[in-house]
Subunit: 253 residues, 2 copies
DNA sequence: CATTAAGTTCCGTCAAGCGGAACGTCAATT
DNA sequence: AATTGACGTTCCGCTTGACGGAACTTAATG
């Protein structure tokens, strides 16, 4: 027979749509006509996938990810918001600045401003990279709810891009904790040998949605420079976040 | 382990989001990193559920249903569009006029204008009824793609509300074909004995999204009156459809 | 403190998803 | 017209993970 499973999942999603403040498990279960335990299991799965969230005391609500299902049209919007800030960073540092998002367990580049210097790592928009080895990825993942992090750790392909790429789950977890503590990610030789990246997270009103990163040959990132650039990147990301949060609802399509 | 299934399904949905014109199976499969046959199977399921559609020659696109997942906020919009028309019908006929939509295999009433007469069938917004026995439901289902109709026939609970309720699949199919041919649904004694309903479908740019119905005690619907009211209901539904189609995109949130 | 209602977890059963391989179909190329 | 290749679609045996009743936990109420 056909996927009865999906019918139920979507029924639950539709049902949560009408209740931005959250619905109780019971209400949901009766509304969609499902046994409590089944509704609960599905809801839990949806939570680990990030489409719903448990807002305490057993009530559930949709997250922004559901909107994003329909509105990948958001991509150009994010680019348009981030671009001015990225340009400024690009000018100040003379290095490559990227905007990336997490989509099906991979990092996709939405926007890339290349360094004007000849030694550069050439990426282009629409390309994707694994999410644990990139500063961009780490800057996003570290700020996701832990259940979603665990899920990604278990499912995302962990690819050894260079001999130095960290691939042990325990190590990755340690790194993510540090990123969460620091507020930014730094990565050396993880995706390409000789390339260092600084990644900083971008938040909308619901949490991380993207990150920006600076990537440059390690030889150009000295001690003082590094600290300075981290500051610039953090400021940049915060300024993008602020714009996103001010425009809540204005540009959802 | 956790629902790998859902991850894939949502990956596909997210991937289709960026391509309103449609994506080829191959592109999708490689984009989300899934074997072709798997991607194809999931896509087919999503199609029968109505969330994607096959736009010929093996390319697929999202339908408006994905938006509706996130935007049950559309409900008030539809009510606001339909209300003036419904009021007019209510005044002209002096009977109860309903606006309903199909949601997880049931008909939900979004808006009800009751007759002023004392003999009435009392429904209220937010209530739900089975989809095959109501004129409202039939008026919607009859205009859905056949695969989705079949799916509903197989999954929706077919409830015998009165001794006269039609419950045989073959009979229901026959009725739906007639509704599709006529452009409206008429139902007598199917949900409540002594109650007759006339249902007419409302379309947005993508297809049926709702229906309006008139429900009245059979004793008040004579031969001439019936014909006249069907005309009025058809006109009303068309006028609502027209408004919806003019506002494409304007009010998606 | 008993009682009820709601959320959460468990677990044996078995339906249903999986995906490689085989098959159709169409169009460009020789 | 035959050949090739690329892509969409279907098949089917293997195995996974969904199912949901019942038991358990927690919170609110009298």
């Amino acid at each position: 027979m056909e996927s009865a499973h999906l019918v139920k999942v979507f029924a639950i999603l539709e049902a949560t749509a009408g209740h931005p403040e959250g619905v109780s498990l019971n209400e949901l279960a009766t509304l969609v006509g499902l046994p409590k335990s089944t509704a609960h299991r599905l809801l839990k799965t949806l939570c680990t996938l990030g489409y719903t969230a448990n807002c305490g005391s057993g009530t559930y609500r949709q997250t922004g990810m559901v909107k994003r299902l329909a509105l990948a049209a958001n991509d150009p919007y994010w680019v348009s918001v981030a671009d001015p800030v990225m340009r400024k960073l690009n000018k100040q540092t003379k290095e490559t600045i990227n905007l990336g998002i997490l989509r099906f367990e991979k990092i996709f580049y939405l926007h890339v401003l290349e360094t004007s210097q000849t030694l550069r790592r050439a990426v282009s928009a629409q390309m994707s990279d694994p999410c644990f080895s990139t500063a961009l990825g780490r800057a996003i993942v570290a700020f996701l709810p832990t259940e979603r992090q665990d899920f990604l750790l278990r499912h995302a392909t962990i690819e050894r891009r260079t001999p130095k790429t960290v691939v042990e789950e325990v190590e990755i977890k340690k790194i993510l904790r540090k990123v969460a503590k620091d507020g930014f990610a730094i990565e050396e030789d993880q995706t390409d040998l000789g390339v260092t990246c600084i990644g900083t997270p971008v938040f909308d009103s619901e949490g991380v949605v993207a990150a920006i990163s600076l990537s440059a040959p390690a030889v150009r990132i000295g001690g003082g420079t590094k600290k300075q650039w981290v500051e610039l990147m953090l400021e940049g990301a915060q300024s993008i976040s602020k714009t996103l949060q001010q425009n809540i609802g204005e540009r959802l399509l």
